[in-house]
Symmetry: C2
DNA sequence: TGACGTGGTGTCGATTCGACACTAAGGTTC
DNA sequence: GAACCTTAGTGTCGAATCGACACCACGTCA
């Protein structure tokens, strides 16, 4: 079962930078490689694109197969095509970044006999291939995009407190924000709905829960509205 | 001369959306296809990626071969991978957009026996493949990027008047700007240098020429400075 | 019941923003 | 050369936005 083509062509892969936020840090999901090249090294989840699937489908399939992750925010990042980025042969990689709700996606560890783990973005191990470059690009993109698109919510559970939301922005952007100004701004978007609920099981005054009004946002977006924080 | 692989793989192409600005409009460069599929239709310049070249190199090569265009601003746009986007077989296309100084790049017409022409972006003919989608995406990206990156200059000659620069922004963004406010803003960037020259051969008061201080910009950029209009 | 920890709220000065109209200069025409 | 045509070039002011900043509220726990 092999195929023959008139001209040589690169192999085509997808790789995913999966971001998650826990109590401490913004983290990236890595998989430990079992085989050469780079056996034992940590790498991004990914694999080769099949003929009958789109690139997005390939990315989602790899996330499912390698990390048990489904139904996440996924967006194409960049396509890397240096000639020697894979020592075996020419491989072009279409990369994606994904945002997952870590609280709901306690990742399946050691799936398929492969080891998977989360690493804080400023404490990454040495990565296989050019995956460090890819992670850098993903962080830059995430930082840029979080300012003018409502993707911060993808890192939180459906119901969240304003303090949690502020933490998302602070961890992603890498600097602290003023609480009152932050609350003013998110309130000004008009896209947070205040719930009749407060958080549970905390050893202090419980904070009000909010949820993101995605329906209204989609409407406004079509009318040219720009979300900005 | 053919090759055999263990598993099937998509063909990999690059396609370029080349923008140019003339006296009237923002335009896109198209090539008329000579062969099926879509023979006779207009399409983006592009072609297949060779094993020994990077994606950027492939894009530049195609621009050179198909339109005689060299040394332009070029940036990767998106990778399109719908399964049936090419009726012949699975082709994944890494797309780029380019900005050219139309005044200096009077495009080589009918090169390689191929017909090439500029079309105003809101008067495009029907395009081959999914190239309309690609052009749409390129316009969206250009509109977003021109606001916070100094790429407008790429559409103008080295020396330009402030009115010309304003026209670039107006044509790209699709709406008019206030002359005084615009001049205040560009002056505030501190990145335009006033030359001791005025434009020539105009039938009215000649405007002062300016040039973009790219060196200073590169320095500031590294320090985290954000260009904004 | 008091201490602790986080939740939640408003003001003010500085800055930025957008709206807005006239004179200057150079070439063309009669 | 006078009138005219066309584009160049320039400043103000009110509105909106921004960032800096501090205290009381509420629930838990000892």
């Amino acid at each position: 079962m092999s195929v023959t083509y008139r001209y040589p062509r690169p192999a085509l892969a997808v790789d995913c930078v999966v971001f998650g936020l826990d109590e401490e840090d913004l983290k990236v999901l890595l998989i430990r490689r079992g085989v050469d090249p780079f056996a034992g090294r940590w790498a991004l989840p990914g694999g080769f694109v099949r003929l009958e699937e789109t690139l997005d489908e390939a990315a989602r399939r790899e996330l499912r197969e390698e990390a048990g992750i489904e139904k996440v925010y996924l967006e194409q990042l960049y396509t890397f095509g240096a000639v020697d980025r894979d020592p075996r042969e020419r491989v072009v990689s279409v990369t994606y970044y994904a945002l997952v709700k870590l609280s709901e996606h306690r990742v399946r560890a050691a799936t398929d006999a492969r080891e998977a783990a989360w690493f804080a973005i400023d404490d990454l191990p040495k990565l296989a291939f050019d995956h460090e470059t890819i992670v850098d690009k993903a962080i830059t993109r995430l930082r840029g995009k979080v300012r003018y698109a409502p993707i911060g919510f993808e890192l939180l559970p459906k119901k969240f407190t304003l303090t949690q939301l502020q933490r998302v922005y602070e961890k992603v952007l890498g600097y602290e924000l003023d609480k009152r100004n932050f609350r003013k701004k998110v309130a000004a978007t008009g896209l947070l709905v205040e719930l009749d609920e407060v958080e549970q099981d905390v050893a202090h005054r419980a904070a009000r829960l909010y949820t993101f009004d995605e329906k209204t946002y989609r409407k406004l977006e079509k009318e040219g509205f720009l979300f900005e924080i």
